[in-house]
């Protein structure tokens, strides 16, 4: 697996203009930061802070209005096809193809990459197995529970062993136990694979669980804080939690930087 390289975000701004006129909506005011290769990053922010828009720009589905996002020096929107096989995303809804079985859903990205059929099947089985779904490979999505479907979606993303793994509120809508279990699986697998992983969430706990870096987004799309948990003494995580809460509520960086 080749690395995706560092992610550079410089002067990023995104404005949505409706085709029928009307007022333009600023989704991202201005973002500047860098994510190193292999970083585990959580982006935390309230609804409307542009975190999903940012992820869509990173995936290459949206074009920045101003500024630039580059992964390893290349822009995901402009050099769209360059990122074939390097990035994979897990979305809020599982987005499984309903006419495909669990196994065939996991095979999908491998098919798109033109892998040999036996390799597709072998890899897809292995990932379903790792996510505890070996018995359900022939089940259709509607036969599976929400948690199981999201695990299939995780298997689909991991199957191509992407250098850059993105998750957009991927566990938030599930019940607490399922969500925590999936989150642990995600973080664990991402860490073991050595991926650069970015988890977008509105839940602070999820962000802290990631255990890497936390980017706190304010509304609309501005960086309130960039916190490295590694540089943070364990004992003061509770205080950090309070600090981030305050930032999110006031939508402004703390006057004094977190102690």
């Amino acid at each position: 697996m080749k690395g995706a390289g560092a992610i550079d975000v410089a002067g990023l701004r995104k404005v949505f203009r409706h085709t029928g006129g009307g007022e333009a909506v600023v989704a991202i005011e201005r973002l500047d930061f860098t994510i190193r290769q292999g970083d585990m990053v959580a982006i935390v922010g309230q609804t409307g802070c542009g975190k999903s828009t940012f992820l869509n720009i990173l995936i290459g589905l949206e074009r920045p209005t101003e500024g630039r996002v580059a992964i390893g020096g290349r822009t995901p929107y402009g050099d769209f096809d360059h990122f074939r096989g390097t990035l994979a995303a897990v979305f809020q809804q599982d987005r499984l193809l309903p006419w495909r079985t669990a196994l065939d859903n996991v095979r999908l990205p491998l098919e798109l990459l033109g892998r040999a059929p036996d390799e597709q099947a072998r890899r897809a089985r292995a990932w379903l197995d790792r996510l505890g779904l070996a018995r359900f490979e022939r089940a259709y999505p509607h036969e599976l529970s929400g948690g199981m479907r999201q695990r299939v979606a995780l298997a689909r993303a991991f199957a191509i062993e992407p250098a850059l793994l993105l998750a957009d509120e991927a566990f938030g809508h599930l019940d607490e136990v399922t969500s925590a279990a999936l989150r642990t699986t995600f973080i664990d697998l991402a860490r073991r694979q050595g991926h650069t992983a970015i988890l977008v969430t509105h839940q602070l706990e999820e962000a802290i669980d990631m255990g890497g870096r936390i980017l706190v987004f304010g509304r609309p799309g501005a960086l309130l804080a960039d916190i490295d948990l590694h540089a943070w003494p364990r004992a003061s995580v509770a205080g950090l939690r309070g600090d981030i809460q305050r930032m999110l509520q006031s939508n402004a960086p703390l006057k004094e930087p977190p102690a």
Binding site: A88, L108, H142, M148
Partner: protein, 260 residues
């Protein structure tokens, strides 16, 4: 994870145990009641208005049953051609916005022309009878395939499209892995619609110039004032339609077993 698995295994088993056939009691009772009422009416009304079942069955035995095969062959042949044309054009219109902008009004125009007019055009324009019939069927059925397929293609959810695009598919892959399979339910529905449409239209088309087929059989019966024969043909047409729909429904259940 336990509760998850329980739910999953339960539904998988439920799917496997799904009853393959249920006797349609209500339908049979309803149809029998209608048949009985028909018979009773026939006792009080002259047979050239409402013939009894005895007469109808007698006529049924005397019918040229090869006409049924001829008509069915025309319907199936025309539907296959319509499907290929309709889907082909739908793909072209989906792939290219200018093609869609130019073609859509033309298709709407085609769909606005009444069947009777198409039959008259066919008689005026073409000499060969088989071609006339095929022309009428195709011009009526192909737009239905086209419009339904195109709408379904355009209706594919943005979420699924974005998911697939995040993996960087080629245009062909996006179409074959996502758009086309997502269109299958709509295609099956338009087959059902077109089958009943074609069976009803083919008989009218066969009234003009054909010397075989159920439509021709109907003309002959009418010219001979054989009311029971007209009813016998009608009965056959209705039965064909019911059977064809039943077959298509079974096909649909098989193909769409992934649906809830």
């Amino acid at each position: 994870m336990r509760p998850d698995e329980a739910i999953g295994s339960e539904t998988v088993e439920a799917l496997e145990a799904r009853a393959p056939f249920r006797f349609p009691r209500e339908m049979v009772v309803g149809l029998l009641a209608l048949a009985v009422a028909w018979e009773i009416v026939s006792w009080f009304v002259p047979p050239f208005i409402v013939p009894g079942w005895g007469r109808i069955f007698k006529s049924l035995l005397g019918l040229r049953l090869d006409f049924v095969l001829v008509t069915l062959a025309r319907v199936v042949g025309a539907l296959v051609v319509s499907f290929v044309l309709g889907l082909g054009l739908a793909v072209a219109m989906y792939a290219s916005t200018p093609v869609e902008r130019y073609a859509r009004p033309l298709v709407r125009l085609l769909m606005a022309v009444p069947v009777v007019c198409w039959i008259l055009f066919a008689v005026l324009w073409f000499k060969w009878v088989e071609f006339r019939i095929a022309f009428v069927l195709v011009v009526v059925c192909a737009p239905v395939f086209l419009v339904d397929a195109l709408d379904a293609m355009k209706g594919v959810s943005k979420d699924l499209r974005d998911m697939l695009r995040s993996f960087r598919p080629t245009r062909v892959q996006l179409f074959t892995k996502l758009v086309l399979p997502a269109t299958v339910p709509a295609i099956l529905t338009s087959w059902k619609i077109n089958l009943s449409l074609a069976i009803r239209v083919v008989t009218i088309a066969e009234l003009v110039g054909a010397v075989t087929g159920i439509g021709y059989g109907l003309v002959v019966a009418q010219e001979l004032f054989s009311v029971s024969e007209v009813f016998a043909w009608t009965l056959i047409l209705v039965v064909i339609l019911f059977l064809a729909e039943a077959v298509l429904t079974r096909v649909e259940e098989r193909i769409l077993r992934w649906r809830v």
